[in-house]
């Protein structure tokens, strides 16, 4: 296989690029998708076991980074995309938590805990 720059295929150029799969510059943002998948799998968890601070912080960081990935030089579409998903899954969880807190089940538990403390 010829290795001169002119005859390198697009794939080879990508693999060898300074922000390509051989560098941390590729894998660190790529791994952010793990947060999205963990968030999606957490949609199965019962709302009463979700952490509000964690999900709010994910929404905040997701939104801020979605904006910044469009503002930095060069624009980073993949970073923007992953952060939109981080913010979205975080937001879905926050909505689930808020719904749970307004539910009868939760109010019942609050009453029970107050009764125990009294």
């Amino acid at each position: 296989m010829a290795t001169s720059a002119a005859s390198q295929s697009a794939l080879q150029r990508f693999i060898n690029s300074p922000a390509g799969p051989k560098t941390i510059h590729f894998w660190a943002p790529a791994m952010k998708w793990a947060l999205v998948f963990a968030g999606i799998s957490d949609l199965q968890r019962p709302a009463e076991n979700l952490s509000l601070p964690q999900n709010l912080s994910l929404v905040a960081t997701g939104l801020i980074w979605t904006r910044y990935s469009m503002v930095i030089i060069p624009k980073n579409w993949s970073l923007g995309a992953v952060n939109i998903f981080v913010a979205s899954t975080g937001l879905m969880q926050v909505v689930r938590i808020m719904n749970y807190r307004m539910s009868d089940e939760y109010k019942q538990k609050q009453l029970e805990e107050k009764a125990v403390k009294a």
Binding site: T23, I24, H25, W27, A28, M31, K32, A34, L35, F37, A38, G39, S41, D42, R45, N49, L50, S51, P53, Q54, L56, S57, L58, A60, T61, I64, W65, Y68, V71, I72, I73, V116
Partner: protein
């Protein structure tokens, strides 16, 4: 750098910045530029303005981006005090891998971003603590201990 100057229509002063990286160029002062051969004050003023914009842009992104990420470790630290039932095993593992990689990333970018590094190092610790608490609770019987305690308490409050 030369292409950048061309886009600013100041490439005639390209000789003043030969062999420099843009990170050095944007830090040059008026005197530096004069010494290097940027003879007209108009050109120097225009360049200073451009440098100022670039510096401000870098400061904002190098600062506010990492600041946004601090929410994650702070949330985890706040959760140290809460019931381990709230911990998501999947999310904790994902965040450990994520922060581990980003600690390396922060040191590898130009210029090195120590604020981002600190944020991810803190988060790594915070998530490992949560991971330990999660395992303690779910795998090693913390869960059962809690249930046994509840069973003991109930008869006394009934």
């Amino acid at each position: 750098v030369q292409n950048w100057l061309r886009s600013l229509r100041l490439h005639k002063y390209g000789h003043a910045f030969i062999g420099m990286e843009w990170q050095q160029v944007v830090r040059m002062t008026d005197e530096d530029m004069l010494q290097n051969g940027v003879s007209t004050i108009g050109a120097r003023r225009k360049l200073l303005k451009v440098f100022e914009n670039v510096m401000r842009h870098c400061d904002e992104n190098h600062f506010w981006g990492p600041v946004a990420n601090w929410g994650i470790p702070l949330a985890a630290i706040a959760d140290w005090k809460k019931d381990p039932a709230y911990i998501s095993g999947n999310m904790t593992v994902a965040l450990c891998i994520y922060s581990g990689l980003f600690m390396r990333f922060a040191l590898a970018v130009q210029p090195t971003n120590y604020l981002l590094f600190a944020c991810h190092a803190t988060n790594e610790v915070a998530q490992l603590v949560q991971g330990y608490r999660f395992l303690q609770y779910n795998k090693f019987g913390g869960n059962k201990q809690e249930q046994e305690q509840k069973v003991e308490e109930k008869p006394s409050t009934a």
